[in-house]
Symmetry: C2
Subunit: 314 residues, 2 copies
Amino acid sequence: MDTVAAYHFGWIDAQGRPSDGDGGKAVRPALALLSAEAAGAAPEVGVPGAVAVELVHNFSLLHDDLMDGDEQRRHRDTVWKVHGPAQAILVGDALFALANEVLLEIGTVEAGRATRRLTTATRKLIDGQAQDISYEHRERVTVEECLEMEGNKTGALLACAVSIGAVLGGADDRTADTLESYGYHLGLAFQAVDDLLGIWGDPVATGKQTWSDLRQRKKSLPVVAALAAGGPASERLGELLAADAKSNDVDSFSEEEFATRAALIEEAGGREWTSQEARRQHTVAIEALSGVDMPERVRAQLVALADFVVVRKR
Amino acid sequence: MDTVAAYHFGWIDAQGRPSDGDGGKAVRPALALLSAEAAGAAPEVGVPGAVAVELVHNFSLLHDDLMDGDEQRRHRDTVWKVHGPAQAILVGDALFALANEVLLEIGTVEAGRATRRLTTATRKLIDGQAQDISYEHRERVTVEECLEMEGNKTGALLACAVSIGAVLGGADDRTADTLESYGYHLGLAFQAVDDLLGIWGDPVATGKQTWSDLRQRKKSLPVVAALAAGGPASERLGELLAADAKSNDVDSFSEEEFATRAALIEEAGGREWTSQEARRQHTVAIEALSGVDMPERVRAQLVALADFVVVRKR
């Protein structure tokens, strides 16, 4: 299984040769180290938490790419494409188990509390993926349902990343909960940007296929916002997507057919609404930070991370 | 996801109607309750442990059935056959997360220790499944490799089941480790019988397909023991399996072709060796019990459970 995990993290290529591939943005581990510092502990105290959240994140990527049929991640073929579905399942399971082991082997009460938060976040993440998949087969999904799904799928683990270092550093539950509030809204901003990149992202930057979310019929924020907006573009989009839902031909769509759908989403206001939503969530996240007394340097870095999340191109 | 989980546990049928389907033998939860009693605690103390080990067991069944392509379990179509691969992955993940949550929400130091043992056992179980899959594509697997794989795949979680209730009841590590030794060898006995049932089991009793392990080219104990035995039947079996490994036609084999392979395994002594191995492991398991001071009634039940494991037909 090490070979498969090493390939996923970009340490070796598909032929097993050493490689320095893209291993992801490491937003969650960065947050976990800052989290320890926010509670007045040394950043090293957050390391097991950083490892654990990154392992859970990668467990979810391995399984989600297989469930969603995604063929590209981080500019490379996904694990199930290279090593087969069984390896993607197994190695995902192993990373999940390892995440808990890394925390529990510390053996302290704080580590137990950290593991509990991580487990709850992981269960929500799985709930979110279940909602995401079920929405692909539904004609209508409300903006509220979409935000709830994205809060589970992305918000919960980012929230945990921002509390886990603090908990390991001995922070009380109130501090941890306030940090989680920042992380949760940061997660919603992150996911809103992800949804924009999933339709209009540059494949050279994102490392994913063009129109990747449209290929999977994802009911992401720009889509549900466009459908909820009303007006001619919204209605035409609704007709097209309803027909797509009944058809099995989406896999063979041309670039133009995806471009038509993307243009209608934009015309109906879905792109602009989602950009604004990212900024709204960014603001709420920054405001939550004022509820925790922390070194100014740490606060500045958490703000900078939130800024990065909304302007990123990959 | 509840619908899929309820189907897997036999509470509803494929159409969602209430059902009283076979939910499994519940060997692991039975052991977890006895485990608490072995440490002098009330059986109720073991309940979260019983729930957790049964959830981990069922997580592994959901994923393994998908990876192995198994179509029947407990006299019903497997989850991936009825609800699709994505649901089997997702609900398996959810049961795994829930197993940890059930233990950690207790919030005690003992619960942290119990979760750590469960996590380590789960990682070994995943290792064992990885070994099992890799052996399907290898021409030769030694008896030792097979026993190591089965110790990981089956022994580790049964060992955890026998220690988890005791740990929740406050037992020290030495007591827990000794109970795990009983459970580990019980697991090896259990798996040896499983391997016999996987070839010669009655589908009416097992709820699986005929020749299910041969269909999957499993290098189970009877097969590796027969290949290691030498002599004409062993050599003929080796030639057949080597040819099978290069061919993609195993899926279309007739009942006679499987029967030929089963007869050669028996003729080479693989069936008898595996029966004896089950009895050897049973004996070692019972002997380990003498290392723990426990109520005689509890000891008698652990012995009875070991006896059941080696004579069972399903």
